[in-house]
Each structure stands twice: as structure tokens, then as C-alpha cells.
């Protein structure tokens, strides 16, 4: 790049003006950053693979976890939303490469429009991911955690459909309230209590004879093992906690490591998208101001484009390993 100090000896082999790899300094450093970042993501995904192989029989089934689509409440739509997100990101990659292409021909207006579309696409993607997180954190049916830390989910024995805790739990007078720091001992507080207590779930189970539970274990056909009425009653004796939704400690969908990896990997990727949008906006403003027009080179657009494509590239792998495989 032009930022290098000029010594007047660039034309000599060791003078510093040489580009043996045919790429400018800035572009090469962007590529080397991408290589190291790619290795970071591989480390995360390989760790995910390790844990998944370790708990291969009890890992949650992604199709049963991510089933929401905006404005379609209660409709079971696995994969569709995340497929849409993938398309949005791939398309924003296309507009980015079109911006780079227009930059090569020094067409400022075209670069502005394509970069604008790229930023919009990135913003929609980040928003979608936030929505996906919201659904995941809020949960859908609720479950019970056992002494071992394992999850029991409830379903209707006749239809085999999942049943939400609210549909069968018996309402009983509660004596426990959430302890806040401004009541009682001033340094003690807790996060909000689940809607139901374990006792209410047990009473609801006794009152509804068609409720059974299923465990985390996947059978040979790829479905979670459903317990009989007696087995469920026996297991419920070990229940210690009612789980609604997922966080880093409890996870109603099954193995808690699944939630940890989901938050960590998609969060890290989402942070990359967010920073990509911010960098895109900075370059976008520079394009509008005509900085690169005066420089007669749109290489900065190319560099930020490399980063943006990398974010897309990572998502392709996250999509495969979290939602498909």
C-alpha cells in the first residue's frame, strides 16, 4: 500500500518494492488474519464435534430444537428459517463481490449501491440470529432436570406429541418467591424462579394419566426413547429442577453442552458479522466521501470484502454442523 515509506530504491530486488506473491501488503495481511481466524473457528467446531461424539447417544436433535419461523406461531417448521438466513448471507456476499467488481472499474455509484445492499443484508442476518437466540433462550415446552443433570421432556402417550408444562402442571399455592437483593439479606439474590415447582409437575403428572416422559437417549431409529407411565413415575422421583428454555447452566432441549456450544459458536460468528457490518459502514462512508475515487484504487473495498466473504464461509460450516449433520 501507499502507506509504505518511499526510499527511492524500490526498483531494486531488496529495496522493498517487490511483491513476490503478487499481492499488496494490506491484502496479504487480511488473508493471513483470515487464515488464523479460520483456525480459531475450526478449533471451536472440532471441540463441538468432540463433545458430540462423547455424548453421541444423548445429543439433542437439531430439527426438534429450531422449529420456529417468524409470524407462524405453533407451526413446526424446522430448518426453513435458518435456510433463509443462509440465503441472506450468501446474497450479501454476492452484492459484496459485485461492489468489488465495480470498484475495479472505478464506478463509484455502483460501489455505493452494492455496499449499501451488503450492509442491509448483514443487518438482517444479525437480527435473525438475535431472534433465533430469543426463541432458544425462551424455550418452548419446558422440561424437568433430574439429579444426574439429565432432562426429562413430556409428551402425550396417545398422540406422541410434545406437551408443554403449562398444559398439565397442577397449580398449587406457593410459599417461595424470588429472592431479590432489596429484601432479606442484602447480598443474597437469585435469578427468577421457574413458573412451576417440581411438586406441581409431579401432581400434574399424577392427575393426567396420558402424560409420559422421554429421555435424552436416542434409539436406533433416531428418535428419543419414550418411557412408560411407571418408568416416568420412577424417574420423576429424582427430579430436582424445572427448566424453561436454555442458558449456560440449564437446557430444556437436552444436553447442556449443546446450549453452551450453540451460544458460543453462533455468538462468536454473530460478533464477526456485527463487526463486519461496522467495518463495511466505515468503508461505505469512505466511498461516499470519494476517498478511493481520489486514490484511484478501491482496494480497501476488496479487503473488507475478503473479511465479509470469510464470515459467509464460516456460516456455511456452522450451518452444516449445527443444523444439518
Amino acid at each position: 500500500m501507499e502507506a509504505t515509506v518511499t526510499t527511492g530504491s524500490e526498483e531494486k530486488v531488496w529495496g522493498g518494492g517487490n511483491e513476490p506473491l503478487g499481492a499488496s501488503y494490506g491484502k496479504m495481511m487480511m488473508w493471513f488474519f483470515i487464515v488464523s481466524d479460520a483456525l480459531t473457528f475450526s478449533g471451536f467446531l472440532a471441540a463441538y464435534g468432540f463433545s458430540r461424539y462423547k455424548f453421541i447417544e444423548t445429543w439433542p436433535i437439531a430439527d426438534e430444537v429450531f422449529t420456529h419461523f417468524p409470524f407462524l406461531h405453533g407451526v413446526d417448521a424446522p430448518m426453513y428459517y435458518v435456510a433463509l438466513m443462509t440465503f441472506i448471507l450468501i446474497f450479501s456476499s454476492v452484492t459484496m463481490v459485485l461492489a468489488v467488481d465495480a470498484g475495479h472499474q472505478l464506478k463509484k455509484t455502483k460501489v455505493i449501491w452494492y455496499m449499501f445492499l451488503t450492509i442491509i443484508g448483514g443487518a438482517i442476518f444479525v437480527g435473525s440470529q438475535a431472534w433465533e437466540w430469543k426463541n432458544f433462550i425462551k424455550g418452548e415446552y419446558g422440561a424437568v432436570e433430574l439429579k444426574s443433570g439429565r432432562i426429562l421432556q413430556f409428551l402425550d402417550a396417545t398422540t406422541g406429541e410434545r406437551v408443554a408444562l403449562a398444559d398439565f402442571a397442577k397449580s398449587m399455592p406457593k410459599e417461595r418467591v424470588t429472592q431479590n437483593a432489596n429484601e432479606g439479606v442484602w447480598y443474597m439474590s437469585e435469578s427468577s424462579l421457574p413458573t412451576f415447582t417440581v411438586a406441581e409437575i409431579k401432581a400434574g403428572f399424577e392427575a393426567n394419566p396420558n402424560i409420559v416422559a422421554r429421555t435424552e437417549r436416542t434409539d436406533e431409529t433416531g428418535h428419543k426413547t419414550v418411557l412408560s407411565r411407571e418408568e416416568t413415575a420412577e424417574r420423576l422421583q429424582q427430579a430436582t429442577y424445572v427448566v424453561e428454555g436454555a442458558n449456560l447452566v440449564h437446557n430444556e432441549y437436552g444436553n447442556r453442552l449443546f446450549a453452551d456450544f450453540f451460544f458460543f459458536i453462533t455468538g462468536f460468528h454473530g460478533f464477526h458479522v456485527l463487526s463486519g457490518v461496522v467495518i463495511n459502514i466505515i468503508i461505505f462512508i469512505n466511498v461516499i466521501l470519494g476517498t478511493y475515487e481520489r486514490r484511484k484504487s478501491y482496494e480497501m473495498v476488496e479487503k473488507v470484502g475478503l473479511y465479509w466473504h470469510f464470515v459467509d464461509l464460516v456460516w456455511v460450516f456452522v450451518f452444516t454442523f449445527f443444523y444439518l449433520v
Binding site: G22, Y53, K54, F87, T215, L324
Partner: protein
């Protein structure tokens, strides 16, 4: 750059088409999950192998066409791609074999995990 002033718009749209078709195929397979593809090949379901191969094809098109590796000098291109091609499968191989081993220890080693 040697390719500074030519336009690659056609190539870009062709690659977008390829990426879209692959994604659609992946999503359809992911929703149907045909029983014929559940067979185990080399320790993994055939369907999962298909997903991974399709993903690598997508990654190839993104890196080669969008990130324009196909227009870079060969030495630059391979100094970027080779370390990843060597290190990532190596890491995945070691961690997955190890994970599988730990799984077997839990399964056969008198460890109670579900109570």
C-alpha cells in the same frame, strides 16, 4: 493487478446459482432425511458425508470465486489454503477419535450417567 479492468459479473451470478442450488439440496435432504441415506459409511451416516462434501464444495466456490483466490498467484493461493487443508482435518481427526474413545469409556466403564 492484471485483471484490474475486466468485469466478472457473469461468473459471479453463475457461482451464486451454484451456491443456491447446493443450499436448496442440503435443506431438502435435511428435511426429508431419506431412509436410504441413513446407512453407515466409514463410521458416519452417508447423509452426513453428503452434507460435508456439499459444504466443502460451497467453501471452494466462495474462496475461489468470491474471495478471488483463482486470480491470485499460485504461491500465494497455496500458502493460504494448504495450512488449512492440512491442519483442520488433522485436528478434526484427533478430536473425533478421542471423543469416540471417551464415549466408549462412559458406555462400557461402569459409569452411571443417567439416574
Amino acid at each position: 493487478m492484471a485483471h484490474a479492468h475486466e468485469s466478472n459479473t457473469k461468473r459471479i451470478w453463475v457461482v451464486f446459482g451454484i451456491l443456491s442450488v447446493i443450499t436448496i439440496v442440503e435443506v431438502i435432504l435435511g428435511i426429508i432425511r431419506p431412509a436410504a441415506l441413513e446407512a453407515s459409511v466409514l463410521g458416519m451416516k452417508l447423509l452426513n458425508w453428503i452434507f460435508i462434501i456439499l459444504t466443502v464444495i460451497k467453501a471452494y466456490y466462495i474462496a475461489w470465486a468470491f474471495m478471488h483466490l483463482e486470480g491470485e498467484k499460485g504461491s500465494f493461493r497455496w500458502s493460504i489454503v494448504l495450512p488449512l487443508l492440512i491442519l483442520i482435518p488433522y485436528l478434526a481427526f484427533i478430536l473425533l477419535v478421542e471423543g469416540n474413545y471417551v464415549h466408549d469409556v462412559y458406555k462400557d466403564g461402569f459409569v452411571s450417567w443417567d439416574f
